[in-house]
Amino acid sequence: MESGLLANLALGFGEVFRLQPVTMWGVAFQQVPFNIIMCFIGCLLGTLIGVLPGIGPIATIAMLLPATYALQPVAALIMLAGIYYGAQYGGSTTAILVNIPGESSSVVTCLDGYQMARQGRAGAALSIAALGSFFAGSVATLLIAAFAPPLAEVAFKFGPAEYFSLMVLGLIAAVVLAHGSVIKAIAMIILGLLLGIVGTDVNTGTSRFAFGVPELSDGIGFVAVAMGVFGFAEVITNLEQKEHREIFTKNVTGLWLSWADFKEAYGAVLRGTTIGSFLGILPGGGALLSSFAAYTLEKKWSKNPETFGKGNIKGVAAPESANNAGAQTSFIPLLTLGIPPNAVMALMVGAMTIHGIAPGPQVMTERPALFWGMIASMWVGNLMLVILNLPLIGLWIKLLTVPYRYLYPAILVFCCIGVYSVSNSEFDVYLTALFGLLGYVFVKLECEPAPLLLGFILGPMMEENLRRAMLLSRGDATVFFTRPISAGLLIVTAILLITILSPKIRKKREEAFQEE
């Protein structure tokens, strides 16, 4: 197995550094390391939007999806992946320096990171965030490389019944692990499921909820929903608030970590990485959940929990490592089973489909260069990001001073162009605007939009698998419990449900989320 792993990694790195002829703007270049360049662009973009509050990886990936048509699938996926884990790095910068989480997963970093900045230790905070993230990213890449092939073999044993049970687990987990009110999370998921039903039923060919509109007969485009609810709504919300930011740029002198700081923090990095790697794989998991869990657990296990929230370096190291590990391992279910564990991966499923790749266990055997190339690019991307984030901090700071009134028209225009270019359809743009309005309503009602996207993507998949499982079992519903993997997944779901309903754990959960 060892040589297998090395051979695969060699294939991957070969693909990442591959020189290929590229024609740009009518000029033909011969030897261009195109994939690396796309990785860099993805990481750069990711850091950029991570730093800028008000736009996140979901909206950006949704916006750039149509632009990747002309690219080779490998290059496109490498770039989009770079945006996701790059945003985790960028989000920490604003969290530490401005007390604004650039990314939802950087929320906990604000707590101790900003305090460290106020105490003049911004340099140490930024360093441990970047280095911890790099360590976590490297470990996660190795994990993916080592575990993906056996997991893919297991995946071939997955039939429709198993997929259905796994998706049920995913949806329930999304409820359990969502911010805020459980009722609202459930409501958003159900709304997402309903929106997902619109279109032509795969089993009978019947048109559902399309009201005779031909553009709806293939369903509502997920790009329209994603951009509307995340992109447009964010813009509308941000325009409502006045801008006032206190920025600690002058205190960023020593970017070096003292030995004492390192000794204190390395344990937290290891623990955060472990937690993140594990939680990223789970349905509903990813960067956000990992960072929260890591922070909470670090605080619990600490000998002086009262120092957390006042500038304890462990409070930065743990969540930062966890969110990077979680962001990367959340690619595992996508690349092996073809199932998105969270909203961002759901968009990546869309990206793969657009490029004619059916996500699933066969991707590894049918397109090994693409698979291992993506994995290798993650490690290379992490390396690039450490370089981007430490020395180039000054550049990112300057960006934070751009007034929003210049930023948002550009964002809106790019969103519209992106949505139109998916199917050359004006109808899609109107639809996006509608969802933008809807997204704004959600913000006002304090409803999380991410469960909606997850329900929207997973719902139709769940229905398809449920009915197919019933077809194959000739109408026997006990198939979900008689097949061992499916039964196991449903038992875990039941445990999760009990967890969420038990009052003691509900209280703890509210405590954890209260710290914003």
Partner: protein, 319 residues
């Protein structure tokens, strides 16, 4: 007043078209399927060469949706001046009309055929765990276990589905149809054996055939394919006349002048007969045809009638 009259006349003059040679500006070829699909790649490959011959760019405009009917409708209602064309296929003009009675266009009356570009066929593949090595053995197994074998498809009413129905009808077996959202999505379940057979695209099936996870036991064309000459046709495996292939052809809106159609036909046929084009099409698992407009009308009518019979026999309905 005189000035006004002169201005008005000049304005109207702007609308007068001189007898400029066709084509005098770029032509739009509507492809009613998403980019990077077989229809799209085929269209782009061909139009690159046709553009060179015509001296004007032929631009591919993807208008996917509703099984190809959105794009087709667009061209049906476009101006018949030869500057808007459609790349149609079996599902838009042969199967679609029978399955969807309420189509917004008439596939025969609203279009003028230009040429059939290519034809592609499907391989009948089974999982390697299934103990059959030929069509005969498969049919025998299906008859020994009625209702237990099934076939996957890329959706109700697609050619993959209807090929399976035709197979079922001809062989008299009791196999169940299990629809998916695309042929590639059937593959994992096919490999694990939950699905017994699939009419898969000859090219996309190659990786799994090479690794031995799937076996090809028949091909749905009348003649063996040069890509896989060792695979017998289903027709020669005991079911003469069995043919399920997909045609790709170019249409112009009805009423397009005959000279324009003749010119387009000439350039398309010439582009198709180049050796590079043959190679490009082989990569997609297709064979170039290049028929005349009359032949195209004849082919499409024949295919429509054939699939209409299959649909009726199998009682396939879309509500």
């Amino acid at each position: 007043m005189k000035r006004l009259a002169i201005v008005l006349c000049t304005m109207f003059a702007a609308f007068a078209h001189g007898q400029t040679a066709y084509p005098s500006k770029s032509i739009r070829l509507v492809v009613p399927f998403p980019p990077a699909g077989a229809t799209d790649i085929l269209s782009r490959d061909l139009m690159q060469r046709v553009s060179a011959r015509l001296g004007q760019q032929v631009v591919v405009d993807n208008r996917p949706g509703a099984g190809g009917t959105i794009g087709s409708d667009l061209v049906a209602k476009a101006a018949a001046d030869g500057y808007t064309l459609l790349m149609a296929t079996t599902s838009t003009h042969s199967i679609g009309p029978t399955l969807t009675p309420k189509l917004p266009y008439d596939p025969v009356k609203d279009f003028a055929p230009v040429s059939v570009i290519a034809v592609s066929t499907n391989l009948l593949v089974v999982p390697s765990s299934l103990q059959v090595n030929s069509v005969k053995e498969l049919v025998a197994l299906a008859k020994a276990k009625p209702g237990q074998l099934n076939f996957g498809s890329s959706g109700t009413g697609t050619i993959v589905h209807l090929s399976g129905e035709m197979f079922r009808h001809r062989t008299g077996t009791d196999i169940m149809h299990v629809p998916y959202k695309g042929t590639q999505l059937v593959v994992p379940d096919l490999i694990s054996g939950q699905i017994s057979m699939l009419f898969d695209n000859i090219v996309s099936a190659q990786p799994n055939l090479k690794t031995g996870r799937l076996k090809a036991i028949g091909i749905s064309s009348l003649k063996r394919s040069p890509l896989m000459p060792e695979v017998p046709t289903i027709a020669e495996s005991g079911y003469p006349g069995f043919e399920a292939s997909v045609w790709f052809g170019v249409y112009a809106p009805a009423g397009t002048p005959k000279e324009i159609i003749a010119r387009l036909n000439r350039e398309i046929v010439a582009a198709l007969h180049s050796p590079e084009m043959k190679e490009r099409l082989a990569i997609l698992g297709a064979e170039p045809i290049g028929s005349t407009p009359e032949e195209m009308a004849h082919t499409v009518a024949g295919e429509t009638a054939k699939w209409a019979r299959v649909i009726k026999d199998a009682n396939v309905r879309i509500d």
